[in-house]
């Protein structure tokens, strides 16, 4: 542990924006290395929630009184912030959902159910999160369509040639994670989109692990659907985003029926509202949207480029340190990776590692990461996973290494 740390790319003072990090766990300073599961919240997000409830709260899109108008404005302002954050052309292309999971289910049940029939295919990859597998399996059961899976190699890199071969005239949708949560692999999404578009097939990107870590530009990508979760971008839980190109969204049938998604209702005929409202039935998670807006503005203030560079530095430092420990195997060694490092320690089950880490105040994830096919590929039941957020520093990585050594002592 004598090597000097690389130059920090993000000011240490940003760490102070996150009140939870001041806590102790089992009398040790909390080292939070589980941001891929969910990120901690900066004070500005916490304040935006309490401030909204204290002074700004009312239902939206319905009241004629000022409080409701202001709440509606704040809500739609947040939609604009999201538009800006991912570079969408128009705010109406952004639909608020409960999270990535609901966003993918929405596409499966609306676009999917209307566009797919028996024999049609949905193409995904071997490294998907369960939330980008199961909604498609349900859709396949409903429509008689077939789920096709692109393979990866033993570094966790998608086999692009194999993937290209799997695209054919029956493929009706390509759905791929932008970044794998279990391995950290950044997928070649530009190439994937080009391949699919060459045959007029729309592409959905699961951006749950990409949006927190790198700049996203949906127009530059020319992606058709993009999804991410508020809680992973330092925002509140229970809120997420589906981006869809306007023409696609307009052609899609609604998801749920109810208030707000209609223009007029009679018992004979109901006219649906315009997008995005057509897909936002019922009173939405208003505070969640406000908090998400605050989180994205906070990230924009720092700059996603800087965050990406900071996390890349942490990843390369951590990779180097873990590679120095002979008993450690890193699972997921693709060339392009985001700040996720899955690993195994010889002779110690990840679940035991998780407990020992916890006693040292280090929060990591141990398990299958909702990606059981990935575990199967690598022949392990589970892995330990450390993942980085903008608040992590090189000392956190040193603690990770120390704790692995501690675990090896306990088990020796």
């Amino acid at each position: 542990m004598t090597t000097p740390h690389p130059q920090a790319l993000i000011s240490e003072s940003l760490r102070a924006d996150f009140p939870i990090l001041e806590q102790k766990m089992h009398d040790k300073p909390l080292v939070y290395l589980d941001s891929a599961a969910s990120a901690q919240k900066p004070q500005v997000v916490i304040d935006s929630l309490s401030g909204f409830y204290e002074t700004g709260y009312a239902n939206i899109h319905r009241g004629v009184y000022k409080l409701s108008q202001d709440a509606t404005e704040a809500f739609e302002h947040a939609r604009n912030t999201v538009r800006d954050f991912i570079g969408a052309a128009e705010a109406r292309e952004l639909i608020f959902t409960r999270g990535t999971t609901e966003a993918i289910n929405l596409v499966a049940q609306t676009y999917g159910r209307s566009a797919l029939g028996p024999g049609d295919e949905i193409l995904i990859t071997e490294m998907e999160h369960h939330s980008n597998i199961v909604p498609w399996q349900i859709l396949c059961e409903q429509t008689g369509a077939k789920l096709v899976v692109g393979l990866m190699d033993d570094t966790g890199t998608l086999l692009l040639e194999n993937f290209a071969e799997l695209i054919n005239a029956r493929t009706k949708l390509v759905a791929v994670s932008h970044v794998s949560n279990a391995l950290g692999t950044i997928n070649p999404v530009r190439e994937i989109i080009e391949l699919a578009h060459a045959q007029n097939i729309p592409v959905l990107l699961d951006g749950a692990q990409a949006a927190p870590h790198m700049p996203i530009d949906v127009q530059a990508l020319d992606v058709d659907f993009y999804t991410f979760s508020g809680h992973k971008v330092y925002g509140p839980t229970g809120i997420g985003v589906l981006y869809g190109k306007a023409a696609l969204l307009e052609a899609m049938p609604p998801y749920q029926g109810g208030g707000d998604m209609i223009l007029s209702v009679t018992f004979e005929k109901t006219e649906y509202n315009e997008i995005p409202h057509k897909f936002e039935a019922g009173t939405p998670n208003i505070a969640g949207v406000i908090g998400l807006g605050a989180a994205l503005e906070y990230l924009q203030g720092i700059g996603m480029d800087r965050i990406a560079a900071h996390e890349a530095a942490l990843l390369s430092y951590a990779t180097e340190k873990l590679e120095e420990i002979p008993q450690v195997t890193i699972i997921g060694t693709a060339k392009e990776k985001a700040g996720v490092i899955s690993f195994a320690v010889e002779g110690i089950h990840p679940h035991d590692l998780g407990t020992i880490f916890d006693m040292d105040g280090v929060a990591i994830r141990a398990g299958h990461h909702c990606a059981q096919p990935v575990m199967e590929h690598f022949g392990v039941p589970a892995t330990a996973r450390a993942s980085f957020g903008l608040y992590n520093n090189f000392e956190d990585v040193d603690m990770l290494v120390q704790t692995i050594q501690h675990a090896m002592e306990v088990f020796s």
Partner: protein
């Protein structure tokens, strides 16, 4: 003793590294599968019961140190015992893991299994320690349904 040392006692680590009765009998007479979806632990408990006595018991699978050691020590403790006594021991074992009552009572039938008392301080790990036992119960009931800790 620190909580960690109390959890990972020598005996437990030793059993997790060299599990006893870790085999599939031939022929298989009765078995059940258990899984803990949280951590991916999977094991199969095999049984041979004659006249309500556990003549043979063994297991296979992969899991954390706590679940493997618990399965290993369970097979050692229960081999040769009547089913009724095995059930009583499971009850005591479960109490050891979840309650704060001191187990040194007169009818203590746990024997070496009492090394698992450290699990009490780690509520998240109780399911690891009981996975093999729940699986055993499923095998005893003869239902062959897969057991899940969730």
């Amino acid at each position: 003793m620190s909580d960690l040392r109390a959890l990972y006692q020598e005996v437990i680590l030793e059993h997790s590294k060299n599990p006893r009765n870790f085999r599939m009998p031939d022929p298989v007479d009765n078995f059940a599968n258990g899984i803990n979806p949280l951590c991916g632990d999977k094991l199969t408990v095999y049984l041979h019961v004659v006249d309500d006595v556990i003549e043979d018991i063994s297991f296979e699978g992969s899991g954390c140190a706590i679940s493997t050691a618990s399965a290993s020590m369970m097979t050692q403790r229960l081999k040769g015992l009547p089913v009724e006594q095995a059930n009583a021991i499971f009850e005591q074992f479960h109490e050891l893991l979840t309650s704060n009552i001191d187990q040194e009572t007169s009818d203590d039938q746990l024997g070496k299994l009492s090394v698992f008392s450290g699990v009490r301080e780690f509520p998240m790990r109780v399911k690891c320690a009981t996975l093999a036992w729940h699986t055993l119960q499923s095998a005893l009931s003869g239902e062959h349904a897969d057991v899940s800790t969730e």
